[in-house]
Symmetry: C2
Subunit: 431 residues, 2 copies
């Protein structure tokens, strides 16, 4: 058991766990504060999750949407970055412990540890229906999609071939809609002419949503437009029946069976175990029910933000689990922490400003809803593209992503169509 903190320091010690949107934003806003900040993440990279589905569908390379955290923070002299997995918090001793047996002391703690996809009692579905939260998830899904076309090309049995050419998305939120639309584009456009036996355009892309409409965060007319746009791309949309079974040959829902070799899970997330570490109340998906100032109940020195927390949004439900909300929370707690450092202990409730919702459907359509204006179609798609390029960190990545998109738009080719190493689950699952 080793202590990482230099013993000489008497400065305030802030430990931030998680280098996602919330954690990074907090660090950024505290870069000039008179304190020692330690940022801990189990990955060496910050991931631009809103574009992860583009890696899964061969549009972007992994390095176009991820950057080493320590490099992003290299100029912040009060910040130390550690690669490590946290497995507990000792709230009495005020330390966090890592899986390697280290303990790291804090005066103030920020838990911004995010969420993973979850199967809600059906964890056995994971091998058949992987989710999309990490770079590895994305390359796994990319490998499965591309391998399915390769297997179909070699398959003499037409029924089996159809199974390989059936792609099922479970979940009609932005991820499900975006993946479905992009696979449809891939099949109808990018792969055109590449095969000799199969016609990739004959692939079936199916989206299954248990609720009454896709993109439930949007207005009803936007949902209706998104469904229509998906259908125009050749995606079959099933609404109103949740999936009741996933297995090696396909899925079951609403009393019917659908045979498919590629299934992607985008139907739910589970927060990281921050509530368990702190032994505080959590909601249905494990998020800490935080106070209005984003502190954990009973622990004014512990903030919980982003996808691992839930907080009321004025009178309108709870703050949504999206990147802009996590960033606003990071900014907010940075202000609170700075105020406290100079003795200002006044309560600072978090107020969320909803800037809008964006989702793309394939290469040519999108829906955007900024409250005061709603857009759909090609203009919305361009707006979506500009917004995402704008928010990408770092000049070079903006350029590289813009170049990738421009190239795909002009040529239809996707540069990142690589089938790389199999994982263990894959080996077990595929014939």
């Amino acid at each position: 058991m080793t202590e990482i903190q230099p013993s000489a320091s008497t400065r305030h010690r802030l430990v931030i766990v998680g280098g996602g949107f919330g954690g990074l934003e907090a660090v950024h806003n505290l870069r000039n504060a008179d304190m020692d900040i330690t940022l801990i993440d189990q990955r060496n990279h910050h991931l631009f999750q809103p574009l992860l589905y583009q890696v899964a569908t061969s549009t972007l390379a992994t390095s176009e949407i991820a950057w080493p955290i320590r490099h992003l923070l290299r100029k912040y002299k009060n910040v130390k970055t550690l690669l490590g997995t946290i497995d507990g918090v000792d709230t009495a001793a005020r330390t966090v412990s890592t899986a390697d047996g280290e303990t790291i002391p804090y005066d103030t703690l920020v838990l911004a540890t995010g969420a993973r996809h979850a199967y809600f009692g059906h964890d056995d579905w994971e091998p058949f229906a992987p989710g999309l939260k990490t770079l590895e998830d994305a390359t796994t899904i990319r490998r499965r999609i591309l391998t399915a076309f390769e297997k179909a090309e070699r398959e003499p049995d037409p029924a089996k071939r159809a199974e390989y050419l059936t792609f099922v998305m479970i979940g009609g939120g932005p991820t499900g809609v975006e993946v479905a639309g992009t696979i449809a584009d891939l099949a109808r456009d990018t792969l055109k002419g590449d095969f000799r036996v199969i016609d990739p355009a004959s692939a079936r892309v199916v989206l299954i949503e248990g609720g009454p409409r896709v993109l439930p965060a949007f207005s009803e007319d936007m949902s209706a437009y998104a469904k229509q746009a998906l259908e125009k791309l050749g995606v079959t949309v099933h609404l109103g029946n949740p999936v009741t079974e996933c297995h090696t040959d396909g899925v079951e829902f609403g009393g019917q069976s659908l045979r498919a070799q590629t299934i992607i899970w985008a139907a739910g997330v589970q927060a990281s175990p921050a509530a368990k570490w702190l032994n505080v109340p959590a909601d249905r998906v494990g998020r800490v029910v935080v106070n209005a100032d984003l502190t954990a109940p009973g622990y004014p020195e512990i903030f919980v933000i982003g996808d691992t927390a839930t907080v009321a949004n004025g009178g309108k439900g709870t703050v949504p689990g999206i990147a802009p909300a996590a960033k606003q929370q990071g900014v907010h707690i940075a202000k609170t922490i700075k105020a406290r450092l100079v003795g200002d202990q006044s309560p600072r409730p978090f107020v969320y400003h909803h800037d809008g919702d964006l989702a793309t459907i394939g290469k040519r359509a999108a829906v955007t809803d900024f409250g005061w204006i709603k857009l759909k179609g090609y203009i919305a798609w361009w707006l979506w593209g500009l917004a995402h390029i704008y928010f990408l960190i770092g000049l070079r990545n903006r350029l590289a992503v813009a170049l990738s998109w421009l190239w795909i738009s002009v040529s239809g080719a996707r540069s990142a169509r690589l089938i790389t190493q199999k994982d263990a689950a894959e080996e077990a699952n595929t014939p």
Copy 2:
């Protein structure tokens, strides 16, 4: 057991196994020939191996040096691409068999199945000293290099920390020299300022070559220059003593022990088992000893090219195992196959033209030897860069690679510094 070939065809059936430089060049030169060509590869991508070390050292992304084979060949209407692993040849029945139990008939067969790195009786060294031949090898090595710096940052014991900061390259050929030079650049330049506890510039980079000099394919003065350039970058070069042991804590050579947590193997290759499939004579590293026309002894209908064949180079030893040689062989056999198709059975011995040798040492130096002119230093480095961009397949990748290099050259940042999923060997090997 299924036959893939459409039964209706009476055209000449050419099967090419391997989509590397030799196999692709043969296909390209036969794209208008009146025959049915099947290209089989166990990967879906062609790999630009000369730049693989740049993926291993975080300079380039995987998709910048690899392209889907079927997409490269999509316009060649007489070519069918199959993803599959060949495990044998039935020379009597004239079929190749795949690991999935399929058999594919041929009239003419081309084996261009390449080579893997090899440990020559020390396969147990592989977990400690991975080699560099595939994209997965490259991401494994990248992960190990970057993880070593992360572990050093967290390690309180100075001796252990020094072990994490010691990088050993085994083998002084182009790969060993290029990897050593790039790791030195990474440590001294790219990672500068990213860490708080360690100084990445204090990393030891050690190159161990059993022979008397590095880059033995070059002239003695070029070898001497390369050694000097490596030393200037801070690389320690040990010559004359082969490694006698690799284990979890480091390597042994020339009676001394060197403790290191990152070891990379670039000391030897072994040809794919084509000689075993055909039951024909092979050299020391398993390459088929082919006839002057690149056919296998006793099988005029079977060609073996590239790294899996060996053939005399006029009076000067054998043709070297490099990309330009494989490409020339691909062009040569395409001519032979076309001539035979119109009844011309005259013998066509292969004549190799050596265009030159190129190797880089870090970001600012290289050695080139074109026979008529030898260059070293910065000019040679630019020449090396231009030559590689020129030979990269596809406009977009040329642009993307040029952009990556330019960015690194100007900013010192490397965009592909991602630690992605661990492999099983890694899990077992690291503490």
